[in-house]
Symmetry: C2
């Protein structure tokens, strides 16, 4: 079978079902590809019209004279097999079928037809019943929802694969709002050919992807999936949010995608064995992803907290302990250094409480000391921007700290619009931020554990084991 590259960096795309009617999926996909960042050639295919968005329209892909790398199909279900057959005859090796109305509504026979045609022509198929692919770098974007309703994130290094189109569309939109960045997005629907295992294998070898996130309700072939994930365990973080973890949820799955969710306990144990990180909700999924993509691995579990608000320091302390990490005890030398530079009422314990009249300079002294102190593995940096003496310059202080630190720094900041603007500035340059002490502590734990696992993995490989 062919490579999956054709889905992400095709030099030419045929859009089967392209339309002049703005309410049609085929129109929105055309518009995304023509007016967006995609640089390759676009061939609209529709027997009933001659031109769409200024481009010549073809009655069939077989009538296109130039080479076509990928096709996107959005036409009624019963017409899809014929269109796929024509793709095969044209020599197109990658096809995204957006159309629904196959296995997910019990129409197994029609889906079987697609699979047979794809096999015959060695076509790799994503879908049917999916949103397809969004790749901010190449500009491929088959997500058929208009950008005013569903914003698109900028290019980055987090990839996301999803069985559910609804979860996928929310994730794209939400990442864009938060300033989180995306490498590749794939909504694969019924997984008639390309499934979660194929995609994970592809993304593990994809240079632009640093972290792989996934939402699914069940896996198509358990053995294949776990073989692949175990094989690459520790190479790149894989974080999974699984739907259908209760028996009622499993029932809901079966009427949703027609797939079998299977017992959560079985999955959960297998995930752990394969080194897969499990998230319990969407927010957690992306907290972990941003952490693992941006922060260096810690050498241990000792956290130094720096705060300008005592209450937030207390909440972070509680959560660090609850999650099995520990508080650092800084060396006397470093405490003494800070003592000389700061007012007497600053509390130089753990948490370090810079108090409500903290300014950027005071933050910098504390951060530098924590970075240099051998007793500190991670830094929990609480920055409440409501205080009077803290302005935009704290952003530079934080950026500098990130540049110089080999230790992971977790920025916690919460509030209103002013705070959100500064947080988005940090996200934009790749510094993850957290709104709540609880979320930061969980992310610390995951980063620590992933670091330990990678270390063990390397040790095992050194010893000739796997």
């Amino acid at each position: 079978m062919g490579s999956l590259d054709g889905f992400f960096v095709p030099k030419s795309i045929a859009i089967i079902g392209a339309s002049r009617d703005q309410s049609k999926i085929g129109h929105v996909v055309m518009r995304n590809m023509v007016e967006g960042d995609y640089k390759g050639k676009v061939f609209p295919v529709n027997p009933n019209t001659s031109q769409i968005l200024g481009l010549k329209c073809y009655p069939s892909v077989t009538k296109i004279r130039e080479r076509v790398d990928m096709a996107v199909i959005s036409i009624p279900a019963e017409l899809v097999p014929k269109a796929l057959e024509e793709c095969g005859r044209k020599g197109i090796k990658n096809v995204i079928i957006i159309t629904g109305g196959f296995k997910e509504i019990g129409n197994n026979e029609l889906e079987k037809k697609l699979i047979d045609i794809a096999k015959k022509h060695k076509i790799r198929v994503i879908g049917p019943n999916c949103l397809g692919v969004f790749d901010p770098d190449s500009g491929v974007d088959t997500v058929f929802l208009p950008r005013y309703k569903l914003a698109r994130p900028k290019g980055g290094d987090i990839s996301f694969i999803t069985q559910s189109g609804a979860v996928g569309s929310v994730v794209i939109d939400w990442m864009a709002r938060k300033g989180y960045k995306m490498s590749k997005f794939i909504s694969y629907g019924n997984a008639s050919d390309v499934d979660e295992a194929d995609l994970i294998e592809y993304l593990i070898n994809d240079k632009k992807t640093k972290v792989i996130c996934a939402y699914f309700e069940g896996v198509k072939e358990g053995r294949k999936f776990f073989e692949i994930t175990r094989k690459f365990a520790g190479k790149k973080p894989i974080i999974v949010l699984k739907g259908g973890t209760t028996s009622a949820g499993t029932k809901a799955v079966s009427s949703h995608t027609g797939s079998l969710a299977g017992s959560f306990e079985v999955y959960s144990a297998a995930f752990r064995q394969a080194g897969i990180i499990q998230a319990t909700d969407m927010e957690e999924l992306f907290d972990y992803a941003r952490t693992l993509s941006s922060l260096p691995k810690p050498k241990g579990h000792r956290v130094q907290i720096i705060t300008d608000g005592g209450g937030f320091g207390v909440l972070l302390t509680d959560n660090i302990i609850k999650d099995g990490l520990s508080l650092a005890t800084m060396t006397e030398e470093k405490v003494e250094e800070m003592r000389k530079k700061m007012p007497a009422y600053v509390v130089l314990k753990n948490p370090i409480d810079l108090t409500g009249d903290a300014d950027s300079e005071r933050y910098q002294y504390a951060i530098t000391a924590a970075i240099e102190d051998p007793n500190v593995d991670m830094i929990g940096l609480i920055v409440l921007l409501q205080v009077p003496r803290l302005g935009g310059e704290i952003v530079d202080t934080i950026i500098n700290a990130f540049k110089t630190s080999q230790k992971p720094i977790f920025v916690v900041s919460a509030g209103g619009d002013y705070t959100e603007v500064l947080k988005k500035t940090l996200e934009d340059i790749g510094i993850p931020t957290f709104s709540y002490p609880q979320s930061a502590a969980k992310a610390m734990k995951v980063l620590y554990e992933f670091g330990m696992e990678t270390k063990n993995d390397k040790k095992c490989k050194k010893n000739g084991k796997k």
Copy 2:
């Protein structure tokens, strides 16, 4: 001792330490009171200047001829006792002391002085070491952080008391951003006189407050606190986020406020006994508060889910079951009614999956059926706005549903800017929204349990018990 009313609806306020210097707390408080919504008289007090913001300045409160209901003190700690003594001589019965530098840094003696003066003159004191009071209705606002950095929420029915100024300032700012509405805010700092028990008792009897939220690390007088909360259990929801729930957190508390946090297990058990709802983070605290202030109590725990995205339906199902609630089974009659009005591919089970081409009309059919169906106690309404046929009119559909329904409806909606704008519109008119299935399910559970408790409480009282 005097009433606490004087803190929230004073007809005249003296600001001791009022200043022309914009960087001073006394200046920001002056500005809040003069340029904000406060309608009463403001008297700046400062011996070194004659006029501030166009108002005549007095060298001491004793020189003001008119009646003064409340004073706000923001001058160096060592000068506070004298100023408080003068307040006493002037007959002022309510004083907020913003100044820090007392018990929280070990200066117990200076704090004792304040307490003695307050007792002698029967003054009620909030503070020292606090932000004081914000009441959007009366316009009293001693929160000394400028509005461009820390926005203020609109008037509503959720009150929030906090020991920590930092947590308090984040909460105000964050509520404003989210469109959540506030009745009264009190940051009470060291609680030298007015403590959490006094404030809770006051807010239970306050007509504008429907739900009481609190952040504290310890209570000043455990017996008094639990007597009051037990006495009023079930009358109004009280939701507490407690800092210092681990032994390390407790230590952090002691260097923060100098108060004793006490064992979390002991607190937790006492909270349960007193009918207090416990939140584990800020987001949960306000999810519960908005739910309890806006939604009717359910008759049971059977939830009907309505969604336009299968994946989100699955996630909500999982969380409902995990939280001990159950899925409703609608009557055949209602399912039949819906069946007649909707396309065949709409899944009329639980969840009802209206699918990605849902429009407002389809939502309305499903919501109406669920409201009318005797087998349904609560409705989980997932509205993913990214889908093509759903526009702003869904807001009217939801508002109408809220007007007609005696059952609680939990709106779940997630995404980017477009979604957030529509969610804020709903929040503005008092309809709580949730971003994640997990949060909605937790809120359902809390509403159900509080409803049951109130019912039991009424039953007990009927039977002559308490």
